[in-house]
């Protein structure tokens, strides 16, 4: 049984118990998030390319907070859900999770540190594959400060301020976004003046970014921003022992006051 069939079975079974399952739908080769309500629709179930399904869950729960829902989650999406739940953006009590392990190729493409879900899952689909080290981030770490500056300047100068990095990010949900504040990022300027836009975003994703790479995948200029976020994530781990998306109980360091003895 291939992955798609296995997933179809799992979603089909779940549909008997919940009001709808959030998964990908494939229509004439185009894949998009969808709320499956009926088994008949499952012929159109899709696998990839991935979309940030946790953001869809949030959207639907905003309207239907009580609904019993299912969701298909990859490793990164599970990590995303965990961080969103900590910040009260999704309510996991009524949600059943079908875990979908990524293939080795998919893990490779995302340089994913954990290409399978394991925390919230109620049902598993797919074989676990090995984590992939983030070479791009490591290369960046090896660079001299001046080299890094010229690298990022040439990258950020390509920015067309589409806000895709923010819009696509499941962790970006503030009703009023600092990136749109005239005080911090001059409005109407393309590319946005360095270092405001991109470094503010880097700061705001610290402790939240789970490395799903949706920002980078939707960046028209292919700015490799996840390399920057990955380095920050590593540093946060060393500084505060915090790893986003791993544990529902673990509180993010920037949210809590520091213990006096630290």
């Amino acid at each position: 049984m291939n992955r798609l069939e296995a997933l179809r079975n799992a979603v089909g079974e779940l549909l008997d118990k919940v009001e709808g399952v959030i998964a990908l739908r494939n229509k004439s080769g185009h894949v998009a998030p969808h709320l499956f309500r009926e088994r008949e629709e499952l012929n159109g179930l899709g696998l990839s390319p991935k979309y940030p399904l946790p953001a869809t869950l949030r959207l639907i729960q905003n309207e239907y907070p009580e609904a019993k829902l299912g969701i298909v989650c990859r490793g990164c999406e599970e990590r995303g859900l965990i961080e969103m739940a900590k910040r009260n953006q999704v309510e996991l009590g009524n949600v059943t999770v079908i875990g979908l392990a990524c293939t080795a190729d998919e893990a490779e493409e995302c340089r994913c540190a954990k290409p399978y879900p394991s925390v919230l899952v109620d049902a598993h689909v797919g074989e676990r594959t090995e984590p992939v080290p983030d070479r791009v981030a490591e290369e960046l770490r090896q660079k001299e400060v001046a080299e890094r500056l010229s690298f990022w300047r040439s990258q950020f100068d390509k920015c067309i301020k589409c806000y895709a990095c923010r819009n696509a990010c499941p962790q970006c949900f503030c009703p009023e976004c600092t990136l749109e504040e005239e005080l911090w990022v001059e409005r109407g300027r393309v590319p946005p003046p360095f270092p405001s836009f991109h470094l503010i975003r880097a700061m705001h994703t610290a402790g939240k970014c789970v490395g799903c790479r949706e920002c980078e995948l939707s960046c028209p200029a292919h700015i490799p921003m996840t390399a920057l976020y990955a380095l920050i994530r590593q540093e946060m781990g060393e500084m505060f022992g915090y790893e986003p998306g791993v544990d529902l109980e673990d509180q993010p360091p920037l949210v809590l006051p520091m213990e006096v003895e630290i």
Partner: protein, 135 residues
């Protein structure tokens, strides 16, 4: 509870980016880029990302309007159609087809542009049909 994504083509510039309109219970609530599309490759510009922004705007025209003593008043479709039909017909017979002029739209579909030029050429009898290609 209905949530689906409708694949469509961006209404702004001529690049031809694809986008999904996110529809929740009959309202467009957002836009998503289309991964794997040959032109837009999963990306959009800021206008594309906000292509849903005006659809349900309160300013949308919902009824035909007819000017009466300088003011607009709402009207039914029949009344509006009849008024236009009568006046256009009389201009055509009194002053000839070239007294009429039609602007079609680079914002409308191919089918609509086709129909409007067909209407102008076949029925009104003039080639006074253009759009803002130059503007």
């Amino acid at each position: 509870m209905e949530y689906r994504n409708v694949l469509t083509t961006c209404p702004y510039c001529g690049t031809g980016c694809a986008l999904y309109l996110q529809v929740l219970d009959g309202s467009v609530v957002g836009t998503l880029p289309v991964k794997g599309h040959p032109i837009s490759e999963g990306a959009l510009c800021i206008k594309g990302w906000n292509a849903h922004g005006f659809i349900h705007h309160a300013d949308r025209l919902t009824k035909p309007l007819i000017r009466e003593q300088g003011q607009f008043r709402e009207a039914g479709w029949d009344e509006a159609y009849n008024l236009i039909a009568d006046r256009f017909s009389s201009f055509k017979s009194d002053f000839g087809p070239d007294s009429l002029a039609v602007l079609s739209s680079a914002k409308c579909t191919n089918e609509e542009n086709y129909l409007l030029q067909k209407f102008t050429r076949a029925f009104l009898g003039t080639n006074n049909v253009d759009h803002c290609a130059r503007l």
